[in-house]
């Protein structure tokens, strides 16, 4: 086989290796099953939105994908590596903005970024340079000597994001990254994330703001009561496809107005039905007639 063919063939293999791949991922807490049998596949270079109502299992899934929580059963592969076999190497390739941000309140922003850089094995000079650049980029340079405990929620979020990318991760996990961030900073962050995507990184994002997900993400998965109920590209979901455990596909679905359906409409439609497509109660039926 000619050398060029070998290169092309191996390139295809690399590109088909998913960035995130879970098989039958399950997590139970006592009698309660928070995540049940989730099969997720996120290809490298995708901007992936992970949606679900409150308490659906989004954060538990992210914790498992980032090695912060062991699954009860099932497997996780990040960039082709099994989480069970090589958690340290996987952690080195990923960046995480966790739900609680996990910052050290008694450090300054500058000190925190320097610490994180060193923990990820960056040399001193690179750490200092990236710290400076990130603080400038996140508009935190003027606050770099202030204790993190004295930061506003939005500033803490920006700092957590800076810490998540300081080592140049190939997969970035973001749990509600825009919550509490002002519009200017949110614009900056979105631009940064888009730039990471064009350079081949994968972004896995959860957010309750569906407009943001719709604008940024190319692919979406929806989790409801611990189970994955839909997964696919936005176009697929708009066309009525991507339902997990249902026969409906893009071809079968009616194309009328499909392009004009918002993600919110799709989300409410999917979450409003159970896995068999039957309507599920999502809100109490009381009228609250006393409300003006």
């Amino acid at each position: 086989m000619p050398a060029a063919c070998i290169v092309v063939s191996s390139y295809k293999q690399i590109m088909t290796t998913p960035a995130i791949d879970t098989i039958a991922l399950t997590r139970r807490f006592g009698d309660f099953t928070a995540v049940h049998n989730v099969n997720l596949r996120v290809d490298a270079g995708q901007f992936f939105g992970f949606l679900g109502p409150n308490g659906a299992g989004k954060s538990t899934t992210i914790k498992m994908l980032t090695g912060l929580l062991a699954p009860t059963s099932g497997s996780i592969r990040i960039l082709g590596e099994d989480m069970k076999d090589n958690p340290a190497e996987i952690k080195r390739q990923i960046g995480v903005v966790p739900e609680g941000m996990a910052l050290f309140g008694r450090l300054t922003a500058d000190e925190y970024l320097r610490f994180v850089g060193r923990m990820y094995g960056l040399d001193r000079a690179t750490t200092l340079q990236r710290t400076r650049e990130l603080l400038e980029f996140m508009q935190l340079a003027e606050e770099q000597k202030k204790l993190i405990a004295d930061f506003s929620h939005g500033m803490q979020k920006k700092l957590a994001l800076a810490a998540a990318v300081i080592h140049g991760p190939r997969v970035l996990f973001l749990d509600e990254p825009f919550e509490g961030v002002d519009a200017v900073a949110a614009g900056t962050l979105k631009a940064m994330l888009q730039r990471m995507i064009t350079r081949g990184a994968t972004v896995f994002l959860t957010s309750h703001v569906l407009e943001i997900v719709e604008r940024l993400c190319t692919h979406v998965a929806i989790i409801h009561r611990g189970q994955l109920v839909a997964q696919g590209s936005l176009e697929e979901l708009r066309a009525g496809g991507g339902r997990v455990g249902q026969k409906a596909s893009a071809e079968e679905a009616e194309p009328v107005d499909a392009k004009h359906r918002s993600l919110e409409e799709i989300f409410l439609e999917i979450v409003g039905t159970d896995r068999e497509g039957n309507p599920a109660a999502t809100a109490p039926e009381q009228e609250l007639s006393w409300l003006s």
Partner: protein, 583 residues
């Protein structure tokens, strides 16, 4: 091709992050946290300067005591070890090593909760970084090594090794080696206990059980201590402790302190000494192994919170019911009042909320019983010799624990205080409700203590003593109510008794922390000089004449504070938002 694909998957795998880099990074992190906690919040204004002055004063008072508490065991260990060898009582080394180990673990376990309260660093958060388990284990072992228990324990063992070496130079080397391993064993034992306690204490049922067990242990220890007190007089040689220490050697032979002592004492018989040393090493390995098992679970990822495991998918109807139960508690109390309510609706609603919180806290309810049991114990010891002070002493003892609640009118609610700030209510009503609930607890506690004293008193308590104690109790409660309410408005962050430098405290908080202790102790201790005055002047009713006006003044002060509370709070809304409404 496969190799190429693998290399592309995780290109950085080949080069591992140097251990030194990560260890130094964590050491640097700890150092910066330490430095920032001391120097970052520099005082600028006059009030902050007063706060700093109080902090320095507190340190000047506390540090000599702490130094004595540390130097005592260290010097004592050295001297005791020297005595054991020089005076030819080698078996004394067994209880010495056991004592050092016990003290080490006791201080470490008691210090853990304090350290957790003041520290802003959770070492388990390091698991999110790219660390292999071995490094995580090393880091977790090293972090927090410079604690008072480890420092004093290691120095005490070093002193013991020096003492042995001075008494018999041939034993110096084995003593140093063996006691170094014994110190390591104690370090792993501490870590093992801490790690497993953290796991078990995450379970609410275990927490409750543990609180009860600790209280029972404390009571039992005091009971045994006072039971033995009368027989202790003739001399140390006949004391129970002395006999216990000497009688314990055969049992200690099979425990790590015995292995350590035998490994040193049998140095002349290499095989026997090595066997004992192997026993010590095995104990060390055992504790390290059990510690590692727990850490490995933590490293793989776990969630100790019980909230998820107790959660079950709720139907809309059930959700509605829960919602109405939770949020409706206050509303129902306000709405479903009888025609002639005892309290205004807001006060009644807040009282109900406080009652629900108290009812759901069995540890606090059990804590109210503990002082009563101690009063029974103290009646057989201290107050048997000083019966004059039995009634006020018992009341003071019973009140001390519950008075601190008066200083946390808003602090105990934390972020929930926003509800009060946003609702169209008078905050004075909230204060009144919270004070009423605290008052109910205090009065119940004092009343029960009074009943216990009346039953146990060997002779009838004179009316003058009863009246003066009642007036003094009113004074103590009213004074602490007034200062507590004022403090809750001036520095609303939660006050934790025994923690003079309050966590994340502003200088106002730090200052008031010290003032609270002064008012608390001062008001309670005032009984002593007044009772002495009564004795000097042979006038038993003098105390009543002193405490009567004081009680009236304190009640008046409380009324003044309460009348101005609304205005004071409105003027300090920013402070409330800063100290309580920030997550």
């Amino acid at each position: 091709m496969a190799e190429l694909a693998a290399a592309q998957r995780l290109p950085a795998c080949a080069r591992d992050i140097p251990v030194r880099t990560q260890l130094l990074a964590v050491a640097w992190l700890r150092w910066r946290i330490f430095v920032n906690s001391i120097f970052r919040r520099r005082p600028t204004g006059a009030r902050q300067a007063v706060g700093l002055a109080f902090s320095i004063l507190l340190r000047l008072i506390l540090w000599p005591f702490l130094a004595m508490a540390a130097i005592g065991p260290i010097a004592g260990s050295g001297f005791f070890a020297w005595m054991a060898i020089a005076e030819n009582h080698p078996q004394s080394l067994f209880p010495l090593f056991a004592g050092i180990g016990l003290l080490w673990q006791f201080v470490a376990i008691n210090g853990q909760s304090f350290a957790a309260a003041v520290s802003s660093f959770d070492p388990s958060s390091l698991a999110r970084f790219p660390l292999r388990f071995g490094r995580y284990l090393v880091l977790r072992t090293l972090i927090g090594l410079l604690t008072p228990s480890t420092i004093v324990g290691c120095l005490a063992l070093l002193a013991a090794a020096v003492g042995i070496g001075v008494a018999k130079p041939a034993l110096a080397f084995p003593a140093v080696v063996v006691l170094a391993v014994y110190a390591l064993m104690n370090i792993f034992l501490t870590r093992m206990i801490e790690a497993w306690m953290e796991r078990w204490l995450a379970n609410r049922r275990f927490r409750e059980l543990f609180s009860v067990l600790m209280a029972l242990m404390a009571i039992g220890f005091q009971f045994l201590n006072f039971q033995r007190a009368p027989t202790r007089a003739p001399g140390v040689a006949n004391s129970g402790l002395f006999n216990f220490v000497h009688g314990s050697s055969p049992y200690l032979n099979w425990l790590p302190p015995g292995f350590a002592a035998n490994a040193i004492l049998r140095a002349a018989h290499p095989f026997a000494a090595l066997a004992q040393f192997a026993g010590l090493l095995a104990s060390t390995a055992l504790f390290a192994g059990v510690f590692a098992i727990r850490l490995h679970k933590q490293f793989l990822g776990e969630l100790l919170s019980e909230s998820l495991s107790r959660r079950a998918p709720a139907s809309p109807i059930a959700r509605g019911r829960v919602l109405s139960q939770a949020t409706g508690a206050v509303a129902m109390a306000a709405a479903a009042q009888p025609h002639r309510p005892v309290f205004p609706p807001i006060v009644a609603a807040c009282l109900r909320k406080e009652w629900l919180i108290l009812r759901g806290n069995p540890a606090q309810l059990f804590g109210m019983l503990t002082p009563l049991i101690f009063i029974v114990i103290l009646n057989r010891s201290v107050f048997a010799r000083h019966s004059t002070y039995f009634l006020p002493g018992a009341i003071a003892y019973a009140l001390f624990g519950v008075l601190a609640g008066l200083y946390n009118v808003f602090g105990a609610d934390g972020l929930g205080v926003q509800v009060y700030l946003l609702a169209p209510i008078r905050l004075r009503d909230v204060i009144v409700a919270k004070n009423l609930m605290s008052l109910a607890v205090i009065v119940a506690q004092a009343g029960l203590a009074w009943v216990v004293v009346s039953v146990l008193a060997r002779a009838p308590i004179p009316p003058s003593m009863q009246v003066s104690t009642a007036l003094w109790t009113v004074f103590v409660i009213a004074a602490n109510l007034a200062v507590g309410t004022l403090r809750s408005i001036q520095a609303p962050r939660k006050f934790v008794p025994g923690q003079a430098q309050q966590r994340r405290g502003t200088p106002t908080n730090r200052t008031s922390g010290l003032l609270i202790m002064l008012v608390l102790f001062g008001s309670l201790a005032l009984q002593v000089p007044v009772t002495l005055l009564c004795r000097i002047f042979h006038e038993p009713w003098l105390a009543a004449w002193i405490f009567g006006p004081l009680a009236a003044a304190a009640v008046l002060a409380y009324a003044v504070v309460l009348r101005n509370a609304e205005q004071l709070i409105l003027g300090r809304r920013d402070l409330f938002a800063e100290e309580l409404c920030k997550a």
